[in-house]
């Protein structure tokens, strides 16, 4: 099925309504079982031992004291751990280096698992892990991230159009913007419960993709995929880090091998979440804009320097979004990478776009100031007719509509042009705007859905999708109910289990596009095959439909975010009393959960603007603020009036549902809007997040 020309007729109106979450009762009552919470009479517990050097070799491991400790079942290290396949072909961006746990004496980053204890209880495992003694042959390490390094790699050829050096115009913005290392920190730590029965393994796993885990584990172990079962209906957030597998899952798999027929449990501690499961790379963004006096861009030049690991490459594509945002005949976007002795970075909500829209969107604000333009007008003047990166027409692009509607809702018209113009008592007050952008990306992996009539007009829809809090469970129920033409309560969606039909990873904001389209296709096929009065047991399945025009159009979602910022003239304290976003992201399937997705993204964006920064001590290679007392994320009191709106966008070209994906765009642009508002409040341009208490002190004359 490949018809993408018309919006499908809604039969019940379930699509676009706002029902409460179908899994809500289990979540509010605390009865929803997350990976670590399955009951096992015979549970054993695994505690990792982590390297205390950043580079070198394990010279000796003394496990005697640990093995003698009460309750210890096994102590694993590279000398006795089961072997993993070195030639495993891993799906997606899985990092073999990161996953080859306990396979050699080499130490590639501080915190790398170098041993593990399996014991009868959590306390016994923790205790014994501290008794394992390691001797190292330490080698000099290099964990110093800097854009000034002389050994930066160019991972991919720069994107070039025209000649950015020859761009003309009297206005130049040439600045460097930085974003820090950040950690995903879903509230549920990465957790695994692994159990071997003969040559088959069952994993209860906190993951964004049951099939991804199954395929990866099968490959690493050299097993048929059918011998690996992954169960993950409830996942306590992921924000990217639960997309690819990380070391703890493999540790649990290896540990469980040592105690067959027992369930081995491992949940990363919050501290371990800062060394074992990935992070967002820091970025240094050199942005050079050239424009005429009216603010029309002639050149855009963005170089993003990012951190990668010697153990495995991951490039945070922070120069990516600038390719598509604004028109300019001369353009260059490129990445430089410092490959260091550090853990491998990974996806974190809107990888690339989130940090990559900070620099350019602050630079656009600077351009507006330089040209004496309103920041919205500066963006309107550079609106491209076609996608600058590819030359293709846009399927839909409603950035300007978002800016205009946001301006109306926010009350932008009253804004004084000059910074520092509004003072209320000891507070300076300002407002700022930034654009949001997120591409329609192809899903990672295929999808297939099965619709079965259970009798009495009730239907069961199955696919192994993951609802990590996105609302997919509810939205898929709506899609099926809508197409089948039955009440919501008559549809039961089963997901989060590799025994169910294949589903793509929950990542890239692709859930509705892939699973939604697939369920839509399966339900449509069901009615076509079985009519409106099917026999009990009647079934139909469908695969993810092809998108007919994917290669003919540039497909992206857009948004505009507005922030009000108050800066205290005495203390430099920064508050954000108002955030407002307007988004154009295709069709919204569930108004209630969609609002939560947008607002949740903006809240995390606010957290990025004001709080989040992992501080890596290059001397030792570890993050020094590795807990919630020191790595601040926004608390309830930091978030005041925060609103999300969307425009009714019809885009039949993106997929049969017309949905573009909403999980990530909310975080894109928030930090720039806040920084721009802080400039407007104080006249001080801060080109780094998080904004700090002492950033504004000089200007406010304290």
């Amino acid at each position: 099925m490949s018809t993408t020309s018309e919006r499908p007729a809604a039969r019940t109106g379930a699509i676009g309504a706002g029902p409460r979450r179908v899994e809500g009762p289990a979540k509010v009552a605390g009865t929803a079982a997350y990976a670590y919470e399955y009951r096992a009479a015979d549970a054993a517990y695994l505690a990792p031992v982590q390297a205390t050097i950043a580079r070198g070799r394990v010279a000796a491991v003394d496990t005697a004291a640990a093995e003698a400790a009460e309750g210890v079942l096994a102590v694993l290290w590279h000398g006795n751990a089961p072997r993993l396949r070195t030639d495993a072909e891993l799906p997606g961006l899985q990092q073999p280096g990161e996953l080859h746990v306990l396979q050699s004496a080499e130490v590639h980053y501080r915190g790398q698992p170098v041993a593990a204890v399996v014991a009868e209880t959590f306390e016994a495992a923790q205790h014994a892990a501290a008794l394992v003694t390691l001797t190292y042959e330490q080698l000099p390490h290099d964990a110093e991230f800097s854009a000034g390094r002389t050994d930066l790699a160019t991972p991919k050829e720069d994107h070039r159009q025209g000649d950015v050096k020859a761009a003309e115009g009297e206005v130049v913005v040439d600045q460097t913007y930085t974003t820090p290392m950040q950690h995903n920190n879903p509230m549920e730590p990465h957790s695994t419960m692994a159990r071997w029965d003969g040559e088959a393994i069952t994993l209860h796993e906190s993951t964004q993709g049951a099939h991804m885990v199954r395929e990866t584990v099968a490959e690493l172990l050299g097993l048929e995929q059918g011998r690996v079962r992954v169960v993950a209906p409830y996942v306590g957030g992921g924000f990217g880090s639960k997309g690819p597998l990380h070391a703890p899952t493999v540790l649990a798999v290896l540990g469980a091998r040592a105690v067959p027929h027992r369930s081995v449990k491992l949940a990363a501690t919050r501290r371990q979440m800062f060394s074992l499961v990935g992070y967002r790379s820091p970025t240094v963004q050199r942005v050079r804009l050239r424009a005429d006096a009216q603010g029309r861009l002639s050149g855009i030049d963005v170089t993003a320097t990012v951190q990668s690991a010697r153990l495995g490459d991951f490039i945070e594509e922070a120069a990516g979004p600038a390719k598509s945002m604004y028109a300019a005949p001369n353009r260059r976007m490129g990445h430089r990478a410092a490959r260091l002795d550090v853990p491998v970075p990974t996806w974190m909500r809107a990888p690339g776009e989130c940090p990559g829209m900070f620099g350019p969107e602050v630079a656009m604000d600077e351009l507006a100031v330089a040209c004496g333009l309103d920041p919205i007008e500066a963006r309107v003047r550079n609106e491209p007719e076609r996608d600058p990166a590819t030359g293709k027409p846009f399927s839909t692009r409603n950035l300007i509509a978002c800016l205009r509607e946001g301006a109306d809702r926010f009350g932008w018209a009253d804004r004084p042009a000059e910074p520092g113009a509004r003072r209320e008592g000891e507070w300076l007050v300002g407002t700022g705007v930034a654009a949001s952008f997120y591409p329609v990306v192809p899903p990672v992996g295929g999808s297939r859905a099965l619709v079965r009539h259970a009798g009495d007009g009730r239907y069961v829809v199955s696919l192994a999708a993951a609802d990590i809090g996105t609302g997919a469970w509810t939205a898929l129920t709506q899609v099926a109910a809508d197409v089948l033409g039955v009440p919501l309560e008559h549809v039961e969606v089963r997901l989060g289990d590799s025994a169910l039909p294949l589903a793509s990873l929950a990542g890239g904001s692709t859930g509705m596009m892939s699973w939604g389209s697939t369920v839509h296709a399966a339900a449509t096929a069901f009615r076509r095959l079985h009519g409106d009065d099917p026999a009990p047991g009647a079934e139909a399945a469908a695969d993810l439909p092809e998108v007919a025009h994917r290669d003919d159009y540039a497909m992206h979602a857009y948004g505009a975010q507005f922030a009000e910022v108050r800066v205290n003239t005495d203390t430099g304290e920064i508050r954000v009393p108002r955030l407002l976003g307007v988004f154009a992201a295709g069709r919204i399937v569930n108004a209630r959960t969609a609002r939560s997705q947008f607002v949740g993204g903006m809240t995390m964006g606010l957290s990025m603007a004001l709080h989040e920064e992992s501080v890596l001590d290059a001397r030792f290679g570890h993050v020094v603020n590795a807990d919630f007392a020191e790595y601040h994320i926004a608390a309830n009191a930091d978030v005041a009036d925060i609103q999300a709106h969307w425009i009714d966008e019809h885009d039949p070209l993106v997929n049969p549902l017309g949905a573009k994906g909403i999980g990530e765009i909310g975080i894109v642009g928030t930090a720039a809007a806040v920084a721009n508002a802080a400039y407007h409040a104080t006249g001080v341009r801060v080109r780094r997040v998080p904004l700090r208490l002492d950033d504004f002190l000089d200007a406010v004359g304290a």
Binding site: A130, T571, L610, E630, A634, A635, A637, A702
Partner: protein, 286 residues
């Protein structure tokens, strides 16, 4: 790990005498963090939650005696008007859940330079009551702290109580942090005035290896404060007071803030504290 759980104060002191290495634990909000993070692996814990004497408070010879086990919540609720600066600090310690369990005794036992209770105790001229099987002694708060996590408490002693003088004038506490709540202070400051004696007490938190007093600032304020009328200080006097407070600090740069920012913010908090105290004197709210 042994778990000692005496249900009388005498029993607690005897247990501490027999096992001086036992780590005392009340609400657990400090000690448990260290245990869970593996920073400490004691052979014995001395649980004091069942000792009724520690949960008591009451007036005693011009002081309010607050048992070391009185939770922050209870302190705010019941002792607030008798120890205003301490109560204000207690309102902002960590999270509400922790305030329901944690206590001043624990804050003193841990003696983190960032502990919120220390500046008010210093400013108010409080005493710390230490007890062992051998006897009881009361140490001025200004002599209690030795360094990060170190105090004059001997290994066989337990913190029994703090004694806060009855307020004889306005008291304020304020802190600055990067987050609106649940924040470890970048700096904190307390000011307590004795209107009758025309004396001032100060306390500085998070800006040195121990909580500190700003003695020169105290003397300056005592001279310059409008004790009778509560007039606002002159801008010069306010600035000077702020500078003296900032000058008494010994801050370092860390993840939470630079030393320069800490001095600046302390000066701000000090000036504000003066203004608030003056307003209270004017308003007759003492």
């Amino acid at each position: 790990m042994d778990f000692l759980s005496p249900d009388t104060w005498a029993g607690a002191l005897a247990a501490k005498a027999a096992r001086p290495e036992a780590v005392p634990v009340m609400g657990g909000t400090d000690v448990m963090v260290e245990l869970n993070l593996g920073r400490r692996r004691p052979h014995a814990l001395l649980d004091l939650t069942r000792v009724p004497e520690l949960a008591r408070w009451g007036a005693e010879d011009g002081y309010t005696r607050v048992g070391a086990g009185v939770s922050y919540t209870r302190l705010v609720e019941r002792v607030g008007s008798r120890a205003p600066a301490l109560a204000a600090a207690a309102r902002s310690v960590a999270s509400p859940q922790i305030r329901n369990r944690g206590s001043v005794g624990g804050n003193l036992g841990g003696a983190s330079p960032a502990g919120d209770c220390h500046p008010p105790l210093l400013a108010a001229g409080a005493l710390v009551e230490l007890a062992s099987a051998a006897g009881v002694r009361r140490v001025p708060a200004s002599e209690f702290y030795l360094g990060p996590g170190r105090t004059v408490r001997r290994e066989d002693e337990l913190v029994a109580a703090v004694l806060v003088p009855e307020p004889r004038g306005p008291q304020v506490f304020a802190k600055v942090g990067p987050r609106n709540a649940m924040v470890i202070a970048v700096v904190s400051f307390a000011l307590a005035l004795d209107v009758a004696a025309r004396r001032a007490g100060t306390g500085i938190g998070s800006a040195g290896p121990t909580p500190l007093r700003a003695r020169a600032a105290e003397e300056f304020l005592a001279r310059e404060f409008d004790w009778a009328g509560g007039a606002d200080p002159s801008p010069e006097a306010a600035r000077r007071f702020g500078d003296l407070v900032a000058g008494a600090a010994r801050p370092i740069d860390d993840v939470r803030g630079s030393a320069a920012y800490r001095r600046h913010a302390l000066a701000v908090l000090a000036r504000r504290a003066w203004a608030r105290c003056a307003a209270e004197v004017r308003g007759g709210g003492v």
